[in-house]
C-alpha cells in the first residue's frame, strides 16, 4: 500500500508540474496578446506609454475658466432673446459671448441657430463647423449640430428641437 501510495504521489507530482507548466505557458501567451498595440509595428517602448492623445476641448459643463463662465452667462441671455424672438439682440449677445471666450462652442451653435431663424443660412454653416470642432466629440451636441445643418439645407425652423443635451443646460 505504501508503494502504491508513492507511485500515485510521483504521478500526481508529474501531473501537477505538467499542469502548472501548461498554465504558465498559456497565461504568458495570453498576456502577450493583450499587450499588443493596435498598430502592429510599434515597438515595446512605444506600446508602454509613448503614445498619447493631444489635448482636447473640455465639455461645456467643465468650462471653469472665468471667461468661459462669463461667456456661458451671455449665451443664456442670448437664448432668452431667441425665446422672445429678439433676433438682433440674440445675434449681438452670442457674438459677444464668442468674443469673451472664443472657445465656447455653445455660443457658435446658438449664433448659427439665430441665423437660421432669421433665414440667413449662408452665415450659419461656418459657425456650425466651428461648433462641431469644439463640441463634436459629444454625441448630444453632435446630433444637434447635424440636425441644424440638415435643417439649414431645407428644413423649417418650426421643426427644430430646443432640447438642451443633458448636463449642458445650466450655467
Amino acid at each position: 500500500m505504501r508503494r502504491d501510495k508513492n507511485k500515485y504521489g510521483i504521478v500526481r507530482g508529474i501531473l501537477t508540474v505538467l499542469v502548472v507548466t501548461f498554465l504558465i505557458s498559456t497565461l504568458s501567451g495570453c498576456a502577450e496578446k493583450t499587450a499588443k498595440p493596435a498598430h502592429k509595428k510599434l515597438p515595446q517602448r512605444a506600446r508602454q506609454g509613448d503614445v498619447i492623445r493631444p489635448a482636447s476641448v473640455p465639455p461645456p459643463s467643465q468650462m471653469v475658466t472665468p471667461e468661459g463662465k462669463a461667456s456661458m452667462r451671455l449665451v443664456e441671455k442670448g437664448k432668452a432673446y431667441i425665446d422672445s424672438a429678439e433676433f438682433d439682440l440674440a445675434r449681438t449677445t452670442f457674438r459677444n459671448a464668442i468674443s469673451v471666450d472664443t472657445g465656447n462652442g455653445v455660443a457658435y451653435y446658438y449664433l448659427a441657430l439665430t441665423y437660421y431663424y432669421i433665414n440667413q443660412p449662408d452665415l450659419a454653416y461656418g459657425l456650425l463647423d466651428k461648433a462641431n470642432q469644439l463640441l463634436g466629440y459629444d454625441e448630444g451636441w453632435n446630433a444637434r449640430i447635424e440636425e441644424l445643418r440638415s435643417e439649414l439645407s431645407g428644413g423649417s425652423p418650426a421643426s427644430h428641437s430646443d432640447d438642451e443635451p443633458e448636463g449642458y443646460g445650466s450655467f
Partner: protein, 790 residues
Amino acid sequence: MPRYRGYRSSYKKRRQNSEGKKSGLRRKIKRLWTLIKLLVLVAIIGGIALLYHFYRLDSMIADKFDKPLRWDLPSRVYSDADYLYPGLDIASRGIMAKLDRLGYRNTGDKINGPGDYSKSDDSLSIYLHDFKYPNEIFAGFPVRLSLQGSKIASIKNLERDDEVEVVRLEPEQISSIFNDKMEDRTIVTLKGVPQYLVEAIILIEDERFFDHGGVDPIGIVRAAIANLKSMRIAQGGSTLTQQLVKNYFLHSRKSFTRKINEMIIAYRIERTHTKAEILEAYLNEIYFGQRGASSVSGVAEASKLYFAKNVDQLTVGECALLAGMIKYPSRYNPITHPEQSRERRDFVLGRMREKNLIDEKQYKNALSEKIVTPKRKVRISIAPYFVDLVKRQLADFYPAEVLQTEGLRIFTTLDMFSQLSAEKAVIAELKTLEEKFSKILPQEHPDPLQACLIAMQPSTGYVRALVGGRDYGTSQFDRCTQAMRQPGSTFKPFVFLTAFDPSRSNKPFTPATLIDDSTFEVEAGGKLWRPKNYDKKEHGLVTLRRSLEKSYNIATAKLALEVGLENIVETARDAGITSDLIPVPSLALGSFEVSPMEMASAYTIFPNGGIRAQPISIIDVMTKDDAVLEKKTIRMRKEFDAAPVYLATGVMRGVMDNGTGAGARARGYNAIAAGKTGTTSNYRDAWFVGFTPKLLALSWVGYDDNADMKMSGGRAALPIWTNFMKKAEPQGSGDFTGPSDVILVKVDRITGGLLNRTCPEGIYEAFIEGTEPTKECDEIRTNTESFEGF
C-alpha cells in the same frame, strides 16, 4: 438913332443878362435834377442791393434755420466693449486706465451718480454710464466689484442689491470723423436739458430773453453804461438770439457789418421762430472750448467733456458752472482752471439764489459740491491707422461728406487694451533696436525704421489691434494694409501644411519625415535656381520639424517641389492669400508680395483648426437716430482638415521652443504659443507671426524704400511681438486642442524614428493616426548617411 441904338444895346445887355440868369437857373435846376436822379438811382441801386442783401440773409436763414435744424455732426468710431466678470484680473486688463479713458470720475470714497467710480483695496465701485448700443439702450446702474488682490471675486448690482455675473463697460470713442469745421457736438432737445441749466444760462447771458424781439435796446444801453462806468468792456449787449446768430450763421471776427447782420438776422429769426426753438438751437450751438483741434459745441457735448455725464444727469452746481463757462470757456474750464471755474460757479449760483431760481438749501448744497472732472485726455485720437482702415472700408458705401456730417456711430472690433499695448510695443522696441544695433543699421538713412503690428482674434477674424507705422503724424502710410512686402520664411508653414495634408500633397509627409538639406539646382523660368540657407551651410538629413524650426531654405524648397507647387498655391489661396502667387520654386521661400494683413489673416487657420474667419474690423454702423445701418458678422468657413493643421501648428510650436523664435522665450514669454520668423533676401523685411489658441499677432520691421537693415525676423520683429504678447496674452490661452484622429508618439528628435536603447530621449510628435513611424531610430541611422549633428 444913337439913342435908340443905345437903348437897343442896353436892351440887348439886359436881355443878355436876363437870359444869362435864366440859363444859370436852368443849369442849376438841371444840375439839381441830375443830382436828384443820381440820388434816386443810388437809392434805387442801394435799395435793390439792400433788398438783395435781405433776400440773401433771408434765403440763408430759410436754408439753414427754417428747416428742421441741422448741424454737421462728426461720425464717431468706437472700440469693442469690455466685459467684467468674476475671475478677471483688472490690473492685467488695465481696467483703471480704461475707466479714466471712458471719462469716469474718481469720486473718492463713494459713488453718487453716473460716471463716478471709487476704489479701495478690496473693492471697485462704478456707476455705469448709459449707452446706446446697436439695438439696445443700456441704462447705467451702480455696481461694486469685490476684489481679491487684483482679481474680481464677485459683482453686485447696488441698485437691486443682487449678484451679477457679467458687466459690460461701454465702448471707448477712439476717433471722430470731422469736416473742416471740426465741431464736436451731441444734439439734445430742450426737454432733455435740466431746467436749472436753462434758467442759469438765460439769467447769466440774456436776462430779458423773453422780453425782447431778438435785439434788446435796453440791454445795449445798460451794457454801454456799465462799460462806460468801468471804462472797459465789462458787459456785452448781445442777446441769446444774437449769440446764436453769430455762432450759427456768421463768424467771431468783430466788425460793424457783422454786428448789423447779426441784428437783422436775429430780428428775422425772432419773427418766424418761437423762443423755445431759438433756445434749443442755442443750447446745441454754443461754444464750450476746445478738445484738441476740434471745438466742443452745445451743452450736451460740454457735459460729457467736463463732467463725463449726460446733460440730464448734471447737478445744480454743474449746471451753474456750465452756464458760467459760456462767457470765457477756456478761462473757466474746470479741468484746467478749477479755482477760477469754482469762483464763476459760485457767482452764478449767487445770482440764481437772488432770483429765487433755487432755494437756500439747494444753494448751500451746490456751493459745497466738489467739482470733480474726468482725467484730461492726453490723446485725442487713438489707433489712427485703424481708423483710416475703417474709413477706407466705409468709403465704398458712405462718401466722405456723409461720414463727416451725418453723425454715424461706427462700432469696431478694436480692443483698446491690445491697441495701446501694441502702440507701446512698436515704439519701445523700434527705439531699442535703433540704439542697440545702431552700427548694423544703415548709417544716415533718410527715413526712420518702420514697423507694423496686427493682432487678430483667430476664431472670429476680429482685428483687435493695428499699428501701421511708428508715427502717424509723420507718415500716414499704413504698412499693415497698404504695403506689399515679400513674406520670406513666414510663408513656409503653408508649404508644410500642404505636405502634412494627404488630400493636398503629391506625397505623404509627417513632421518626422526626413528630408535632405543639401544643395540642389532646379530650372525655373529658363534659369537655374539654387536655394541657400540663411547660415550658408547645408545640414544633411533633417526631419521636417527640424527644417521648419531652423527655417532651412534648401530643405523647404526641396519639400515644396515634392509636395507640388500648384498644391501649395491652392493651400495659400484657401487660407486667404489673394495676392499674385506664381508656382515657381522660390514661392516656397516667400518670394512674392503680400500685405501684412493678408498674411496675418491667412495664419488664423492654424489656431482656428483649419477654419478660416474673414478679417473684420467694423461690427455695426448706426445713424444719429439710432437706426442700425450696417450689420457685419463673423463669417467663417472650414477650409482645411483639422489634423494636418494641428501637425503644422505643432511644428511651429517647436519654432518658438527650439528654433528661430526661441528669442521670445529668452525674453520671458512662456505661454504655449506657435509661430514663424521671416527674413527676406538682403534683409529688407523682418517678420514674425505667432499665436496662442486665442490671439494671433504679426509684426513686421523694415524701411519703406526697401533698404537693407541687416537684421533677421528673429532679431528685429520678434521683440515687438514678444513685448506685445507679454501684455495682451501674458498667460496664454491654454493648449492647442487636437482632433481625434491625431496621436502623439514619442520619437527621436534627430532621426524621427521610434525610441529604443540607443536613443532613449525624444519628443512627442503629432501624427495623423496610421502615419506614425514604424522604424526605430538606430534602424534609420544605419540606413542613411548624413544627419545633422552626426
